[in-house]
């Protein structure tokens, strides 16, 4: 049997939607347990005192990527089918990324972690969820005015393997090495910021020894 199965096709739809709930429960649970329902842990990434976001994100990418490449190599997963769902539109993705990054720092959450934080009782996160809906609606209203920009830089399902002319397992190994380098750099940055005093925390616990946050986050 080759995966993916079309879980939402035809009369399997209700089962597929039930599976979506189960996957969502796992997704939300893991994010919460990682500490990513906590705004201080999330923004710590951008002030350098807690790089949990980078650690979780990159180890998740390497895991899912390795799994997808291995399952595809075994002939179990049709990787190209899944990749076809992720076409590249270079310019709107770059601009969208910059705007989303700014929104991340303003709100302190990203579109998934605000849902998790709201579910744990954070009212500011609930406000961000509301903002997400408003922003999405604003985009829908303004889309026509953006003209051809949202479809610019269209390259279809363009992968790093195609771009670099290297087989997927080689690219996968390179990304894993890159992640490892980022993990090492993250620890250094945290120690540097802890030693200097945290610019985002200012007046906060003066009594806490330098590096206490870093030690606790491990």
């Amino acid at each position: 049997m080759t995966f993916p199965i079309e879980s939402l096709a035809g009369d399997r739809r209700s089962l597929g939607l039930a599976l979506a709930v189960v996957l969502g429960v796992a997704f939300g649970f893991v994010l919460e347990r990682a500490g990513l329902g906590r705004v201080r842990k999330l923004v710590g990434q951008f002030y350098g005192y807690d790089m949990t976001v980078l650690r979780v994100l990159f180890s998740a990418i390497v895991t899912a990527m390795a799994g997808a490449v291995i399952l595809s190599g075994l002939g179990v997963l049709d990787l190209a089918f899944v990749q076809a769902r992720y076409p590249t539109y270079l310019w709107p993705m770059i601009v969208g990324g910059i705007v989303l990054g700014a929104g991340f720092v303003l709100s302190g959450y990203c579109p998934g972690t605000c849902v998790v934080a709201a579910s744990t009782g954070k009212l500011d996160a609930l406000a961000t969820v509301g903002g997400l809906a408003l922003g999405g609606l604003a985009y829908a209203e303004l889309e026509a005015a953006l003209g051809a920009f949202p479809a610019s830089g269209a390259q279809g399902a363009f992968t790093l393997s195609q771009w670099l002319g290297l087989p997927a397992p080689v690219v996968g190994a390179a990304v894993a090495l890159l992640a490892l380098g980022a993990f090492l750099a993250a620890g250094r940055i945290e120690r540097l910021v802890a030693g200097r005093g945290d610019p985002a925390r200012g007046a906060e616990p003066a009594s806490a020894p330098a590096g206490a946050d870093v030690a606790l986050s491990r």
């Binding site: 969502g24 989303l100 990203c110």
Partner: protein
């Protein structure tokens, strides 16, 4: 005080998260997501109040489609996220209502920034066809060039804006 100690090791959490994404690829044919669900709830609300307006805006009309805005896999997935997040916090004893902010920053201004950030992200996620989980994580692990460009741009935007809003954590 040792609440932080109750969080999982970030690498362990990352591997678990990666396995959730992989399971989603295998069973759904695509990765996880988040931002579209909030958008769809918004569209459903507008559709309840002004259905004729929705029919006049292509991006809204196509979201409603024939099934309605809420009958979509991502709405169910995010419903699961709410349950999973609450379960994680409850079982670790850290459920609690608050406006997360710095000790000297007014709650009203913090909520205003939270909404503003949400609006920016809601707009950007439609433009980029996905958010941190829907594009950067799910597309990044599939080695999409666009997803990687998006992810790096998020860090550029985040580090670029961080200095201007640092006060809300003081």
């Amino acid at each position: 005080m040792t609440e932080d100690g109750k969080f999982w090791n970030p690498y362990v959490a990352g591997v678990a998260l990666g396995l959730v994404v992989l399971a989603t690829y295998v069973t759904m044919g695509h990765g996880v997501g988040a931002a579209s669900a909030s958008f769809r709830v918004g569209v459903a609300a507008v559709n309840a109040v002004a259905p004729e307006h929705v029919q006049g805006v292509p991006a809204l009309a196509s979201t409603v489609g024939t099934r309605g805005a809420l009958d979509s896999w991502i709405v169910f997935e995010v419903l699961g996220m709410v349950l999973g997040g609450a379960l994680g916090a409850w079982s670790a004893g850290r459920l609690g209502r608050e406006v997360a902010r710095g000790p000297t920053f007014p709650a009203a201004r913090r909520v205003a920034l939270a909404i503003a950030g949400g609006v920016l992200m809601g707009f950007a996620a439609r433009l980029a066809r996905g958010c941190t989980s829907g594009q950067a994580l799910s597309g990044g692990a599939l080695m999409s060039v666009g997803a990687w460009a998006f992810m790096l741009s998020i860090f550029v935007g985040g580090y670029g804006a961080a200095w201007f809003v640092r006060r809300q954590w003081r």
